[in-house]
């Protein structure tokens, strides 16, 4: 397999949606501790909308590259919230990186992590250490770039991203939130994992899981 077609890309996003849905209570609890408890719901609702829109688009026989802006718009229109614009921008940025007329080369899939990071940073204007999802996406993006430079394959790149994102998520415990809803907590946000960083790790893990499944399915 050299390219992911629209159906395969949709399958990947379906796994993301599934894993986010499973974690939704846990994400809600993390958000409850320092925010307003809706992060699990908003993420689950957003990715469910992404999958619905992608299934529909894939049925119309579009290329995988065209799914990304569709995913972005559907996320945005489904949830609003803080995550709506952030993940919409993430998908739209990825859409700019891939050709809408083409399927997505498997080797380049990990670049989605870099695009997500850039889109979120651009829209949210958070800086590292602000205790946001960017503290997971940032390290993950750098890990992908480095792994690619070292010639790692796509799954290995996502492995590296996952490890870096997990460390980033844990690092948010020691951060005092300074943007987003938790920013008003000051010191009281200390010790808590940022929910957005936690969901970022789940997304990356699901992308890796989905890609490995697809490649394995092909190998067997």
């Amino acid at each position: 397999m050299t390219n992911l077609n629209a159906t395969q890309m949709t399958e990947l996003l379906r796994i993301v949606s599934m894993r986010i849905d499973e974690a939704s209570a846990e994400l809600g609890a993390l958000d409850g501790a320092i925010g307003d408890a809706d992060h699990g719901n908003t993420m689950a609702r957003g990715f469910a909308a992404v999958v619905t829109a992608c299934v529909e688009a894939a049925n119309q026989d579009v290329k995988a590259g065209a799914l990304l802006p569709i995913a972005g718009r559907s996320f945005l229109n489904a949830v609003g919230a803080t995550t709506g614009p952030l993940y919409a921008s993430a998908f739209l940025r990825a859409g700019q990186a891939f050709d809408a007329q083409q399927d997505i080369p498997v080797d380049r899939l990990p670049e989605m992590v870099v695009c997500f990071c850039d889109g979120i940073a651009q829209r949210g204007k958070a800086t590292p250490g602000d205790k946001t999802m960017l503290d997971a996406w940032g390290p993950a993006a750098r890990a992908v770039t480095e792994a690619q430079q070292n010639g790692a394959g796509p799954v290995a790149c996502l492995d590296a991203a996952l490890e870096a994102a997990s460390e980033g998520r844990e690092a948010t415990r020691a951060m005092v939130a300074s943007v987003g809803r938790a920013a008003r907590l000051g010191e009281r946000s200390l010790g808590h994992v940022d929910p957005g960083a936690a969901s970022a790790v789940i997304i990356i893990a699901a992308l890796r899981e989905g890609l490995a499944n697809l490649l394995q399915g092909e190998a067997s």
Partner: protein, 334 residues
């Protein structure tokens, strides 16, 4: 969870449906977007349109302030989640009477981003859009970083003033300036005695131990600045007023509007107990209450607790506040 719920995922849609049916004399649903509630008086040709929006679960806010001489169109979000950029954009379109639209909303990351995107979305329609961001919640950041503070019940005064100014035919700049002046003149604080539960989550967001209270709590349950032993109503009123007045710096002889809102599960009579003490203390400091609002004006599902908002008045704000307005959540003036 002792609540009247069907599928939690439909709660917002069902709320909006019931709302527009119950108040069909004052509001209607946008035919293009069922997450946008529009005043039956909107759009008002030749008048500036007023838009707001925010997460659900604060009823009567936000939708309840859609009405005559108040908000023209309101974007509705999920429970405690900002409305989508598209809903804000559709609300702007619905409110547009050709003189531009002022979006008056609260300072939350999601709302900031979604309103910004909505502005981009309506640019092709040629609608001029200005924004005013409410940041009246004193405990959410120091005064020196006021731009970081959350918007809470002071938004109601901002809508009232902005809506009145627009009704009087103020230009977009004038409406923006009046709404900005209103929110600049507002200070709010919340005290929480009990948590609330998002139905889809199924258990409380956070906990407040029996016998304690959380001072400075946000109206989604964002933790406050102090957890203390539950005090008497008078002591709580004094504490709230001190937080607000220390930040406000009002002079002897000042006139104010006061809003004491329940958070959803505090008996209404206790809000009057708080108010009585607050007015007594204001008077003792030479501050006159020109108008008071006491009730469940801006709630947080079934949170136990109350918020206090004090708006300093000058003659312009007084006149705009006193102007008649009629909406499901507030009917005031003659």
């Amino acid at each position: 969870m002792q609540r009247f719920i069907n599928d939690p995922d439909n709660l917002v849609d069902e709320t909006v449906a019931g709302f527009v049916r119950a108040h069909s004399d004052l509001v209607r649903l946008d035919p293009e977007n069922d997450r946008v509630v529009v005043s039956t008086t909107a759009p008002r040709p030749g008048r500036v349109g007023i838009v707001t929006g925010g997460g659900s679960g604060h009823e009567p806010a936000f939708i309840g302030y859609t009405g005559r001489n108040l908000v023209d169109a309101t974007a509705v979000g999920e429970l405690f989640s900002s409305p989508t950029a598209k809903s804000f954009a559709d609300a702007i379109r619905a409110a547009d009477g050709g003189k531009g639209v002022a979006v008056l909303y609260g300072n939350y990351a999601g709302d900031n981003m979604n309103v910004k995107m909505a502005k981009e979305m309506v640019a092709p329609d040629g609608i001029e859009v200005v924004t005013v961001v409410a940041n009246d919640d004193v405990c959410s950041a120091p005064l020196s970083e006021r731009e970081k503070r959350r918007g809470v019940a002071g938004e109601i005064f901002m809508w009232k003033i902005g809506g009145a100014k627009a009704a009087l035919g103020g230009s977009l700049t004038e409406v923006q300036a009046a709404a900005q002046k209103a929110i600049d003149a507002c200070r709010s604080v919340g005290v929480g005695l009990g948590p609330c539960t998002l139905p889809a989550v199924g258990h409380p967001n956070f906990s407040i131990e029996a016998g304690t209270m959380e001072v400075g709590i946000g109206h989604h349950g964002e933790p406050g600045v102090r957890v203390e032993k539950l005090a008497s109503a008078d002591a709580v009123a004094d504490d709230m007023l001190k937080i607000v007045l220390d930040d406000h710096g009002l002079e002897d002889g000042a006139e104010v509007a006061v809003l004491v809102s329940g958070l959803g599960a505090t008996p209404v009579n206790e809000l009057y107990v708080l108010y009585s003490r607050i007015e007594t203390r204001l008077q003792a400091q030479g501050i006159r209450v020109h108008k008071a609002f006491v009730g469940n004006y801006f709630t947080s599902l079934e949170m136990i607790g109350a918020t206090l908002t004090v708006m300093a008045l000058d003659s312009e704000l007084k006149e705009l506040l006193d102007m008649a307005a009629e909406a499901p959540g507030m009917s005031t003036g003659k």
